[in-house]
Amino acid sequence: MPKLQQIVGFRVGRENFGVPIGIVHEIVRMMDITVVPDAPAHIEGVINLRGKIIPVVDLRKRFSEPVEPNRRNRIMVAELDGHQVGLVVDAANEVLKVNPELIEPPPNIFEQGELNYVTGVGKFSGKLVILIDLAKIMQRGELRRISDFAETAGVVPPAL
């Protein structure tokens, strides 16, 4: 029996996603997000997480899903490269213990640029869960447009 992997499952739109539990710091209820003027488009704003100010990304917008505020909305706080980031998701409520052997590598189509944030796919407790790499999601630009991946990070036309 291989060692079970723990995965935090969350929902954005109709899809179920999963990330390794190790990178998830905590999950908090939705709170007021302070909009930061002139910040990159995918940064929703910042929140006060018990005295720490952390940036927030709305995964619903990131995945082009409609934003429908409801009581189940959560901010999932993840730690990426030593930086804490809040991710707004439609719901996040389960920790799945999965057998790594049941995780399949992403289908070929996912290896292409626009979807390369998918690291694996598995069917757990009757649901299809897409495992994703959050670091890739935090990169600049739209997720589904190939052209944006050619963009060198940080090259933004100087605004006058």
Partner: protein, 709 residues
């Protein structure tokens, strides 16, 4: 290094990285002094001490490349060589300081250390100006080999460093090495030998560390192998404490069986039981050892006076400062609560008592905050002292003569601010040497001393620190600057015609502008000055420049004392909360929409007899609505005044600044954020960037600025 646990070793290394920076700094400074007076024995001693400390510390951390290089450099730092070729030696020290620095950063980042071969060649050239006459054994044993050597000494054997010059006439050099090996093995055991067995390249000198029961002159006699070896040098190799060769030797009364390794006793240890001649020899060997000096005892390296200084990682202080910040937030929570209680309970006696308690707590908190902030304060000297080297290198490259005068170096400033200032100051300094100070002949022609002077000064001014750099060079060529700005499209011809001298000088901070016709290695690409500006903005500081043609240029950098806590003015725009540093606010006024006028497509307001351009902060967000009553916050930006239009004022408050995650939230408009007592986040605007982006700066089309917002 198996001696230490990983944690201990890591701690040791990070300590070493910290302390090494100071050593390198000292090296640079001393080398500059040495250039001026190459024969000063005190300076050479200081440099030796620095290199020596570096050697010992790096060896302890297991950085072999560094300790070996330091050892080699230390070897040539002798009064004799300094007397012969002091300038080359000073150059070597400077070049080595750079090499040490490169090695250190490679170690720190766990990269492949860069090659040090060029330095070794330099050392060889200095050691040996006439390579033919070379016979100067270095005995550059590695740390491990040194350990082996000292172990053997503990076991009661004499250890000799033997250098044998292979006879140039000897036809079979590889065989000669083998022969030497065989001979030496007959009367002792070879601890180390260079070249090693089966080495392909045979040097001119064979170096051996030999453990033997025989006496020194016996070993020397036996080592002279006719037709194979032409020169022999045998030195006693045990670690002996440093001895002043002029002081009389104290001979121990009874002959001990062995020489103790590195005894801490200050008395000289000459192997007893030797004849008078042998004693003389040993004494001579000790004198020579000053050249090949082994580490002295650690205590000797510490400064004589015990300093009451603790080295603490900046991060640890930051944690305390953060906690104090949280306390301040907690205090404003209490204050909010008390205000609410006032409204609910009226004049209950409990209310007054809790107010008293809160005031008391606030006072302590203020003291605590000041005390912690003081820990972070360091003297400006830490940055200033790096600059003479930069000036010297730049001046040397460009054929200038520059004298640096430093004042106010004891002015304290927050360490993080000081660190951030280092880069812009270097830019300014290089620029001053390159563009400011004229070539010596030109200076003489202008009736100035051939040597230019650059003055660095620092002083407190209220809650800010001013850092000035002035040169007595030729000043900034304004007409040329303006035409360069027109040529690059930064300025229209029309604007150029009307521009004031002050505004024109500010042009040098624009990206891509340079008055230099040629691009040098140092400066002239028009980058650099905009970097200065960017850093100053980030630090919530300002930079201004004054220049008088023919007399010189002065840059004035003004930064807040600390980045951690600021007094700020809070206000609302489109129902969103913002703050600006109170230091930049000149006045606050109310006005009506009808008072706002348009001049040149720019909204302005007449304040007394001044026309002040307005910037509507509602443009920070799309869809901001207009109100008939306006609040105007007049801010100053250097010489300029700008009115920020906001919806509602909230008041003045002390804010604990928290940085935004710069890797993700990249915005120039916001310089930081803070958390209010009720948990709300308030964004602190970077006034100069807001004015630049939303306002109409030089050559900026107001429409494009608007579109950007």
């Amino acid at each position: 290094m198996g001696i230490f646990s990983d944690d201990r070793a890591n701690e040791l290394r990070s300590l070493f990285f910290d302390s090494s920076q100071e050593i390198l700094q000292a090296l640079n400074e001393d080398a500059l002094l040495m250039e001026k007076s190459p024969r000063d024995p005190e300076i050479i001693r200081n440099i030796r001490r620095s290199v020596h400390t570096l050697k010992g510390d790096s060896a302890a951390c297991g950085y072999k490349e560094l300790s070996e290089l330091a050892h080699a450099v230390e070897d040539v730092l002798t009064p004799e060589i300094a007397g012969r070729d002091g300038e080359a030696l000073a150059e070597l020290v400077l070049v080595s300081a750079d090499a040490f620095d490169n090695l250190l950063s490679a170690f720190r980042n766990e990269l492949q250390p860069p090659s040090t071969a060029p330095i070794y060649r330099l050392i060889e050239a200095i050691r040996n100006p006439h390579p033919q006459a070379a016979f100067a054994p270095g005995f550059l044993w590695t740390e491990y080999e040194q350990l082996v050597i000292s172990r053997s000494a503990v076991r009661g054997q004499n250890v000799y460093n033997i250098a044998l010059a292979i006879d140039p006439a000897c036809p079979m050099r590889a065989a000669a090495v083998q022969l030497v090996r065989n001979v030496l093995q007959e009367f002792g055991s070879i601890l180390v030998m260079r070249p090693e067995e089966n080495a392909t390249e045979i040097p001119d000198i064979i170096e051996v560390a030999l453990a033997s029961h025989h006496q020194l002159d016996w070993v020397e006699r036996k080592s002279r192998i006719p037709t194979v070896v032409s020169k022999v040098c045998v030195l006693l190799a045990q670690q002996l404490p440093f001895v002043d060769p002029d002081s009389p030797l104290d001979l121990p009364p009874s002959p001990p069986a062995a020489v103790p390794p590195a005894p801490p006793a200050p008395s000289a240890e000459v192997p007893a039981g030797l004849s008078q001649r042998e004693q003389d020899k040993a004494r001579a060997a000790q004198a020579i050892r000053q050249v090949f000096e082994r580490p002295r005892t650690r205590d000797e390296r510490l400064p004589a006076a015990t300093e009451n200084v603790i080295r603490v990682e900046a991060e640890r202080v930051d944690v305390v400062l953060d906690l104090v910040g949280e306390l301040i937030i907690a205090r404003s929570m209490m204050q909010d609560l008390l205000n609410e209680m006032n409204r609910a309970l009226g004049n209950a006696p409990l209310r007054a008592r809790s107010a008293d308690a809160l005031v008391f707590q606030s006072q302590i908190l203020n003291k605590l905050q000041r005390a912690v902030m003081k820990i972070r304060m360091v003297p400006v000297e830490q940055m200033f002292r790096r600059l003479p080297r930069v000036a010297r290198d730049t001046a040397k490259l460009l054929g200038r003569e520059v004298n640096i005068v430093i004042e106010g170096e004891n002015t304290d400033l927050d360490k993080s601010i000081l660190d951030a200032l280092a880069e812009p100051m270097m830019h300014l300094l290089r620029n001053a040497v390159d563009h400011g100070i004229e070539a010596p002949l030109d200076r003489a022609a202008a009736g100035k001393s051939p040597e230019g002077t650059i003055r660095l000064n620092a002083y407190h001014q209220g809650n800010q620190v001013v850092i000035e750099m002035s040169d007595d060079g030729k000043g900034i060529d304004l007409p040329r600057l303006i035409s360069a700005a027109v040529a690059s499209g930064t300025l229209t011809a029309e604007q150029a015609a009307r521009i004031s001298d002050g505004d024109a000088l500010d042009l040098i901070f624009q990206a891509g502008l340079s008055t230099s016709t040629e691009i040098t290695e140092i400066s002239g690409r028009g980058v650099g000055m905009d970097v200065v500006k960017a850093v100053m903005d980030r630090l919530k500081g300002t930079v201004t420049v004054r220049s008088i043609p023919g007399e010189g240029t002065t840059f004035r950098l003004k930064v807040p004392l600390t980045l951690a806590i600021i007094k700020a003015l809070l206000f609302r725009v489109s129902e969103r909360l913002y703050a600006v540093p109170l230091g930049s606010v000149m006045e606050i006024l109310r006005t009506r929409e009808s008072e706002v006028h348009f001049v040149d497509g720019q909204e302005v307001l007449q304040i007394r007899d001044e026309i002040v351009p307005l910037i509507r902060l509602a443009r920070l967000h799309p869809g901001g609505e207009r109100k008939s009553k306006l609040f105007i916050i007049v801010v100053s930006l250097g010489e300029r005044k700008v009115g920020l239009v906001v919806d509602r004022l909230i008041g003045e408050q002390e804010l604990v600044i928290k940085a935004l995650d710069e890797t993700l939230v990249t915005t120039e408009l916001v310089s930081g954020a803070s958390i209010l007592g009720d948990g709300r986040v308030v964004l602190i605007l970077s006034v100069s960037d807001v004015v630049e982006k939303l306002g109409r700066g030089f050559g900026t089309d107001p429409r494009s600025a608007g579109a950007h917002a």
